[in-house]
Amino acid sequence: MIPRVALVTFFFLVANAIAQIPKGVEIRKSLVRITTTSQEPDYKVPWNPGSMSVGVGAGFVIDGDRILTNAHVVSNASFIVVEKEDDPQHYPATVQFIGHDCDLAVLRVLDKSFFQNTRPLTTGGIPAIESPVSVYGYPIGGERLSVTRGIISRIDFQVYSHSGIDSHLAVQIDAAINPGNSGGPVMQDGKVVGVAFQGYSGDVAQNVGYMIPTPVIRRFLKDISNGRYDGYVDLSLTYFKLVNPAERRALGLPDNEQGVMVSSVSTAGCSYGVLQQGDVLLTIDNLPIASDGFVQLDGERVEMPEIVERKFKGDKVKLDILRDKKKQTVELQLTGNWPYLMQANHYDSPPRFVLFGGLVFQPLSKNFMDAYQVEDMRLRYHYNFFVTDEIYRTHPEVIVLSNILPDPVNAYLADLRFQIVDDINNKKIGTLEDMANAFAQKCDYYVIHFVGSARPAVLERSAVERARDRIIGNYNVQKEQFVEGGLLK
């Protein structure tokens, strides 16, 4: 299999570019060129605003005077400009809704005159394999609108590389798509059948591009129709295929190729308290679940989670189960599952941290791991097994001594870098907020204990206070903490 790391999003970073007006292309009434100035936060210097870059992507007009594009085209944006084909003017735009889990975003243009003479596109179905499609956008290689053609190669679940952790349906096409195609419509018979969004870089695979298909697009548009994006919901459980005959008999199942076994139930999800390990799932919304976890949906065999993929927060799902060899019917009210987001890429919010005595404390996250490339085995374990070992139950946030700004106050603490905070003055630390609160207490000593058998770090309040201005001045610290936000609601 091709490594997932090679997936790149087709967002074109440029210095400047001027739109030209192509003639004779009907799509020009719908296509939008998006130029985003973004600031990517620096997790190693969390108080800094981060580095600026400018990128170009595509989008298209949809009903209600809106523009649909990829989330990654407008992530971390500080300024967005949109242009259309027959108009020399640049229009400032803002993000109205953004779904990082499905890499889609809806933009609003402040100047409503932008939408004069535009034609909203409508969405079609999932195109057939081998059928031809056209891809529109502003890819690298020129300034003007570009169109490439290809055919549908494959329809499958794929990891969406923007979040890095979410998997949804994606359609593979063999049209040449390149940086700058991101957010552009993929058309068939005058309708949008997908949004071009990612592919493999040329040194990994040739002519492998992916588009977000219309079920995912429609789900996003429906989700935001109540004025809020809730995101995907999840059964928040893992299951095991029941193929082994002895296992089937042991669980009291007939030899009918039906049913999967619940392996684990996340305590943070909607199945907790309703389903339990060892339950056999027989049907989902009255559809029989085959022993390999597939269900028959609209004439297609799809994996069981696809049933839930199409639902929304608060929706219900009905399951027939076998528990202790007795049949039961249960109903779940679907919610998201926050702990897994720790391993997802984060956007649009500054890094959270607390600085005290020159010690920088940050919650463990994907962005954190990418920035620091930590080798520490304990830290790697807490990251990799945060969800599976339910580390979030005791440490909803894993607070790490991530950096030390050298100063006399912390001269002997260098060896404690990358330790995980367990408690301060014997008060357990579960979140960054706990951390900020502990340091806000007036104590003579702040004794920080770490997970495992490292010695404690001891900071005297008087010494920290004396060092404060010195550290802020020497290291140009813009602010000493940013605690708001976080995954745990």
Binding site: N244, A246, R380, S453
Partner: protein
């Protein structure tokens, strides 16, 4: 993935093998007295394959030198004869050969005593005495043999005396670092280092690029030889605790330490170890051992070597069974605690840090291979095992004293030998087993016991991770056992 790295492979040890060497200016023929004290030792070793625990890897041979010691025995490094099938001694002068057996071996101190099976073989040779009178700045001689048996000695300068890592990553003892331009010769795996006709050290590692030697120091050899007289051999003791410096003035004030106190912060105490039994607790500050002051970095002043880690006091200066008085400061109060030192046997660890000279334990149930987790198993992933081996298992090994203080074994389903009984389980591997047939497991013996009592005709195997539980038909497993053994050519379905 299946590349085997022997546990004892010394890094950078004579990677470049030139055949016989030309003498360099530093080399000179050894004095005739020493001629009759060393023999060639050729050991054919064969390690077990932990991925196929019923098999051995291909045999390989190591060639080194041994030293005749009092009592008519030969002293070598343990690495030389680890996992040996056959040991051969060869007289340097006559080329005569005789077989030998291991009498005492200590993998942690990396030393072994060999016994010749032919009592007359060593006749006419002169035993070497041990000297502990070597310090930094001294000049010593590294002994080698030419292929024709001519002894050669190379001068080496002792640059550092410190407690350093021996062959296994968990064992640190007194070590001499030397600089020395050594030539490769075919018996270079273990080399005696002498000072004034006495054995001063044993070469353990040589880095040809920096021309430096790490050597087992005389006091460690001395300790080993004294302890080898004891029946049974008890090994080098350990205090069973971890410590860290107390240089930080804020920490010192918080712990109410005087500047003159020195001392180290005890951050870890092994459950059931000497320190724990003596009543030492995490958070204590150890300020003196046997009335010797401990400085804030964990060193003391040795009369010969100067600043030295206190580890030397508890592992080498003291013997197993010996008691020492430790002074600790707890909440500002001084306490005297008597600690009786002993070694924690390798079997006492939850995850054995090394498994040498004995076959791995395993139990095969219906094509499912169960083993106790050992570091040797993790090492089968090759040089990068810390990154390449299953991360949960690596983490368990690394932090075993925190995670499994009681020393219970970690049983893992290592792999599946596919049969009809294992349909649907083919992808499972390296899963930690929590229960078999409803019974919690401390070790593989308990696993074997639990396997005698299937539940309702099924073996129920429970794991710490997904899929959490699987089943085997007990009757079927029994009926298929002979066929399984035949298909995969397994001599025994279990070894406990």
């Amino acid at each position: 993935m299946r590349k085997f790295l022997t546990l004892l492979l010394a890094i950078g040890f004579f990677q470049t093998g030139h055949g016989a060497a030309e003498p360099t200016p530093e080399e000179a023929p050894a004095p005739p007295e020493q001629k009759g004290s060393v023999v060639r030792v050729n050991s054919t070793n064969q390690a077990y394959d932990f991925f196929r625990p019923w098999n051995k890897e291909a045999p390989f041979s190591r060639r080194g030198m041994g030293v005749l010691i009092d009592g008519g025995n030969i002293l070598v490094t343990a690495e030389l004869v680890a996992n040996n099938d056959y040991i051969e001694l060869e007289r340097a002068d006559s080329g005569e050969k005789a077989t030998a057996t291991v009498q005492v071996i200590d993998y942690e101190a990396n030393l072994a005593i060999l016994h010749s099976t032919d009592p007359k073989f060593l006749e006419g040779m002169q035993p070497l005495q041990i000297t502990t009178d070597v310090k930094a700045g001294d000049e010593v001689e590294v002994l080698q043999l030419e292929s024709n048996g001519t002894p050669v000695s190379t001068k080496a300068l002792v640059t550092t005396v410190e407690v350093g890592r021996y062959a296994l990553e968990d064992s640190g003892y007194l070590m001499f670092r030397m600089s020395c331009p050594l030539q490769f010769r075919e018996n270079s795996f273990t080399l005696p280092i002498v000072k004034g006709k006495k054995l001063a050290a044993f070469l353990m590692r040589y880095d040809s690029r920096s021309q430096t030697i790490d050597a087992i120091a005389g006091p460690v050899i001395q300790h080993f030889l004294v302890e080898s007289q004891h029946q049974p051999y008890r090994g080098f003791p350990r205090a069973g605790m971890g410590f860290s410096p107390t240089r930080d003035p804020q920490l010192r004030r918080y712990l109410k330490l005087q500047d003159t106190d020195g001392g180290v912060y005890i951050n870890q105490v092994d459950q059931g170890g000497p320190a724990a039994k003596a009543g030492i607790q995490e958070g204590d500050v150890l300020v003196a051992i046997a009335h010797t002051q401990v400085d804030p970095d964990g060193n003391y002043l040795h009369p010969v070597y100067g600043k030295l880690s206190i580890t030397h006091l508890t592992t080498t200066e003291a013997y197993s069974g010996q008691s020492l008085m430790m002074t600790v400061i707890r909440n500002g109060d001084r306490r005297q605690l008597r600690i009786e030192l002993f070694r924690k046997p390798v079997e006492g660890y939850a995850i054995e840090p090394y498994t040498i000279g004995k076959p791995p334990r395993y139990y095969i149930l219906g094509g499912l291979v169960f083993q106790e987790l050992t570091r040797q198993y993790l090492r089968e992933w090759g040089a990068n095992w810390l990154k390449d081996a299953p991360q949960r298992l690596v983490y368990y090994d690394r932090f075993q004293s925190d995670l499994f203080p009681d020393g219970r074994k970690i049983i893992i389903l290592t792999q599946i030998l596919p049969t009809e009984d294992t349909v649907g389980y083919e992808q499972l591997n390296n899963l930690v087993v929590t229960k078999l047939n409803g019974r919690k497991l401390q070790n593989l013996e308990e696993f074997a016991e639990a396997a005698k009592n299937p539940m309702g005709g099924f073996h129920k195997i429970e794991f710490e991770e997904d899929p959490r539980e699987i089943y085997l038909d007990a009757q079927q497993v029994q009926e298929d056992a002979a066929q399984l053994q035949k298909t995969y050519s397994i001599p025994e379905l279990r070894h406990l």
